[in-house]
């Protein structure tokens, strides 16, 4: 008869060793602290971000002496005063904010039917096609995609070539605000679909059938049943698209042709072009504050419960 211990698979014995080592470091009596231990990676990650933010906050309160290119050793609100007094800052804040909101609305409008068809279609080929079309852009970076649009929408690009066939003179489709918004919508669409699809999958098809059997038209089923039920997904997707668009750098830089800067572009300029990290940091803090206020507003209007946070406690 074999020794029962030697009959254990090797992996079990390795796990035993780990268990003993863990028990030595973290005795059973401390079990009540285990959830806190599991929170540690998140605390370390968020803590690192907070430390970085403190450094940025500190920089934003120091002004650059242009005769020595050193920062002041005292704190002042001068950078913020400058940011709020320069009309250019107001221009880029408004452009970023408006752009982020337009992109969010358009993206959600496009993502909703995409996700609905992807989840509900009985056609396996169509579902696979939509899935591939959804994931393919993730393998292509944002910058490469933006350059792709330069080729397609340029004066000698494919779109103008097609327009030329019907006698239309080449149009300037790039280096303007709509081009930036177009690029952003195309970039954000997969994120939004990815966030909406699980919310739609969670709605049983029978509910739609039930609504129909009770006399609701397809439109009424959508507006009274599906959209309210998918609201957590819509809010989540909206939050992601809104914050990513607000802080985007590449699309305004590439498709805006230097004439449609967002806040991130202005921050880059201050950090790397004029070497004024203090002013750049103040713009970064303004951007963070703006994003936080927007997210706070969304939570206030729709409630954090719309993301199904803490729903089990209700």
């Amino acid at each position: 008869m074999r020794n029962y211990r030697s009959s254990y698979p090797t992996t079990w014995r390795i796990m035993d060793v780990f268990e003993k080592a863990f028990a030595a470091i973290w005795p059973k009596g401390r079990g009540k602290y285990t959830p806190y231990l599991m929170l540690m990676p998140a605390i370390v990650l968020v803590g690192t971000l907070v430390v970085g933010l403190l450094y940025i906050g500190d920089s934003s309160l120091r002004t650059l002496d242009r005769s020595t290119f050193q920062f002041s050793d005292y704190w002042t609100l001068e950078n913020y005063t400058r940011a709020f007094s320069e009309s250019f800052t107001a221009t880029i804040i408004w452009r970023s904010l408006l752009g982020a909101m337009i992109v969010t609305v358009i993206t959600l409008c496009l993502a909703f039917p995409y996700a609905y068809i992807m989840v509900r279609t009985p056609n396996a080929v169509l579902r696979k096609f939509l899935l591939i079309a959804l994931f393919l852009p993730f393998f292509i970076g944002q910058v490469v995609r933006a350059y792709g649009w330069l080729i397609i929408l340029g004066n000698q690009g494919m779109v103008n070539d097609v327009l030329g066939l019907v006698g239309v003179e080449p149009l300037r489709l790039l280096f303007n605000y709509p081009a930036v918004l177009f690029g952003l919508v195309q970039y954000m669409l997969p994120f939004a679909v990815l966030m909406l699809a699980p919310a739609m999958t969670a709605i049983p098809e029978e509910i739609e059938a039930a609504a129909g059997s009770l006399g609701a038209s397809w439109i009424k089923t959508m507006t009274h049943v599906i959209i309210p039920m998918v609201r957590p997904g819509l809010v989540g997707a909206g939050l992601v698209v809104l914050t990513l668009s607000l802080t985007d750098f590449a699309m305004p830089a590439i498709l805006g042709g230097g004439s449609q800067d967002f806040i991130a572009n202005a921050i880059y300029d201050q950090f790397f072009r004029t070497s004024d990290q203090g002013f750049g940091a103040s713009l970064a803090i303004i951007l963070i504050a703006l994003g936080s206020v927007l997210v706070g507003l969304i939570f206030t209007v729709f409630g954090a419960g719309t993301l199904e946070l803490g729903s089990s406690n209700k």
Binding site: R66, S67, T68, F69, Q70, E86, S87, F88, T91, I92, G154, N155, Q156, R172, F175, G257, G258, S259, Q260, D261, D269, Q270, F271, F272, R273, T274, S275, D276, Q277, F279
Partner: protein, 366 residues
């Protein structure tokens, strides 16, 4: 028959010059090699990519490696992006990520004012350079300028059948709406715009309203705003008819077969320089060989090959202009050439550029 052996003044000068030149060539390395420290395996030089780094490699890096055995690594990080890394390394007493920064003089001036540059005034070959090698607005030689360049008005001859544009005012013609281009921060255009707007160069930096007035007029033309690579692309694609850009970009486009020409308009053109500098924080040996690299970049042989590739005028007398550039406005060599160009102290530029860039962007993007 008596043979009168006399030495004319011309012969004496020629002989002296030859002896002097030979002496300089021989003495140059020996001054530095008098107490030659151990050689590092490699030196890291920050450079711009494409034809820029190729020209540096052919003219300076490869001959240096051949002579010393030290491998040269070219780091193609953008000059603006390497700057904070170098500043942070010096502030934290760490070894900087590069040995030598090939930088715009304006950018390098910021580093010099911050005190992160090694002093290069003991380089033996500086004695053989023109005034252009000396950075304006800083003491000594924290940077050595290695060549100059002009922000020319490049244009497509097809769009200007009556001859080159004589002035920036010519670009205000409605037919050029959406067909002109500038750098997205207006660099290169601020000073000619000051003149075009009716102001004087003495008004820089305190009285620049004429500049902003003219930029506002130009905004009505809905110009394209971009960076160096954009100009070449736009000219190649026929998207623009004229642009204020560095002559090297125009030359690059021309060498790629684009029908393009350039001129210095009546308002003048901004003249600027690039240079080499060494960040503080390197070991004595590395510093010695980094200095030796820069010293070798100031020889006639190195400058000739390096700057042939860039099509730019160097800081060593006696260079032969690249084919087709002799007498070209983008290749100033004589006093008369420089009279048409605008050169503003690096110090004034770095102290005011943030405001100028913001103002330009506000007008163009407002």
């Amino acid at each position: 028959m008596t043979i009168k052996k006399s030495i004319s003044r011309r012969q004496l000068l020629k002989t002296s010059a030859a002896a002097g030149a030979a002496g300089t060539v021989l003495a140059a390395p020996s001054i530095l090699w008098a107490a030659e420290p151990d050689k590092p395996e490699e030196l890291i030089i920050r450079a711009w990519g494409g034809p820029w780094v190729e020209a540096l490699k052919n003219g300076v890096s490869d001959p240096f490696t051949e002579r010393t055995g030290i491998r040269i690594i070219h780091d193609l990080t953008e000059d603006n992006e390497i700057q904070p890394k170098v500043w942070a390394a010096v502030a934290q007493n760490r070894t900087p990520p590069i040995h030598i920064n090939w930088d715009t003089t304006t950018n390098a001036t910021k580093s010099a004012l911050r005190g992160v540059c090694e002093d290069l005034s003991d380089l033996s070959n500086i004695a053989g350079t023109t005034d252009l090698a000396k950075p304006v607005g800083v003491d000594g030689y924290p940077i050595v300028n290695t060549y100059g360049y002009v922000y020319v008005l490049a244009y497509r001859p097809e769009a200007f059948p009556d001859g080159p544009p004589a002035s920036y005012h010519d670009l205000l013609d409605p037919k050029f709406k959406g067909r002109v281009a500038f750098y997205n921060d207006g660099i290169g255009f601020h000073f000619p715009a000051q003149v075009a707007g009716g102001g004087s160069l003495d008004g820089i930096p305190d009285a620049m309203d004429p500049c902003w007035d003219f930029v506002t007029k130009m905004k009505e033309q809905n110009p394209l705003l971009g960076e160096d690579p954009d100009f070449v692309t736009w000219f190649q694609n026929g998207e623009i008819d004229a642009a204020c850009t560095i002559s090297t970009n125009a030359l690059g486009a021309k060498r790629n077969g684009v029908d393009i020409a350039w001129t210095v308009p009546a308002e003048g053109a901004k003249f600027d320089t690039d240079g080499l500098w060494i960040p503080k924080g390197h070991s004595e040996g590395d510093l010695y060989w980094a200095k030796e690299y820069i010293n070798s970049a100031l020889t006639q042989e190195a400058q000739q090959v390096w700057l042939d590739g860039l099509g730019l005028p160097g800081v060593v007398p006696g260079l032969t202009p690249p084919e087709g550039l002799a007498g070209d406005p983008s290749y100033p060599t004589t006093e008369a050439d420089f009279e048409r160009l605008i050169r503003i102290s690096g110090r004034i530029q770095v102290e005011n550029e943030s405001e100028w860039f913001s103002r330009f962007k506000q007008i163009m993007q407002g």
